[in-house]
Amino acid sequence: MDTSATLRQALLTDREHTLTLIYHRTFPLVRRYVQQQGGSAQDAKDVFQDALVIFYEKAVAESFVLSSSVSTYLLGISRNLWRRELSRRQQLPATSLREEHTQEVAEEAEPGTDGREALAVLDYVERLGARCKDMLLAFYYFQQPLEQIAGALKYGSIRSATVQKFKCLERLRKSVRAAVAESVAH
């Protein structure tokens, strides 16, 4: 198994442990870089976490190929994000890092997504209940295979987990549609 596949497997099967290892190994490097370039420890944390989100989304894709070490790769993304943030601050010195930066990360990771519309549906995701929410996020965002999800959520088979996944999606769609119909009626 090559490095990218091993990394992908580790992220899918034990995300918390794998991300913790990566965090402890790489964050000190990113913090040193950001502080040398005039940023604060808080800036370093924000930049590094944004880099990790981008990294996770890329690393769990089957097409991902890691051509360097994880630390080097993450340091590269963090450097780019921090340079971009610095030039943004020079143009708009009074704005905070957090909100502007989050939007930039969203654009980088998935161009064309209408973030505002997605945010409006987020409330309905929260209201689904923990089991449905866990199921949907595990499959659609964290990219875990259904076999693993079925085991973790104690479904008897992949088939029953598949049916449950679509039931959860149907519930989400119904609640969003009801809300849209209600807003049109008023």
Partner: protein
């Protein structure tokens, strides 16, 4: 699965899967015969974007927890280092 769930699966395959040329042609045909298909697909796409955003929020919360644990460990290590520095200095002194 009941028909409503099968429909979700059909749309999902079109939106997230890798449909073959034959399936893509079938989809185009279904769009012509089923006027509800295009708006249903648009709604489902919207749900996937929202789930993506919700997943990102959860990942950020997990990273925040990892960061807090990292900071705690670093502080503890720093404290132990400071507490034992004096002892190390004493041990380093030449014995007469």
């Amino acid at each position: 699965m009941r028909p409503a769930l099968e429909r979700l699966r059909l749309i999902e395959r079109h939106l997230l899967g890798r449909p073959t040329p034959v399936e893509a042609a079938q989809w185009q045909l279904q769009l012509l015969t089923d006027p509800e298909l295009a708006p249903d697909a648009a709604t489902q796409q919207h749900l996937y974007h929202a789930l993506h955003e919700a997943g990102r929020q959860q990942l950020r919360q997990e990273l925040e927890q990892i960061h807090r644990r990292y900071e705690r460990q670093t502080r503890r290590r720093g404290w132990v280092q400071a507490a034992t520095d004096h002892l190390r200095q004493l041990l380093k002194r030449p014995r007469f």
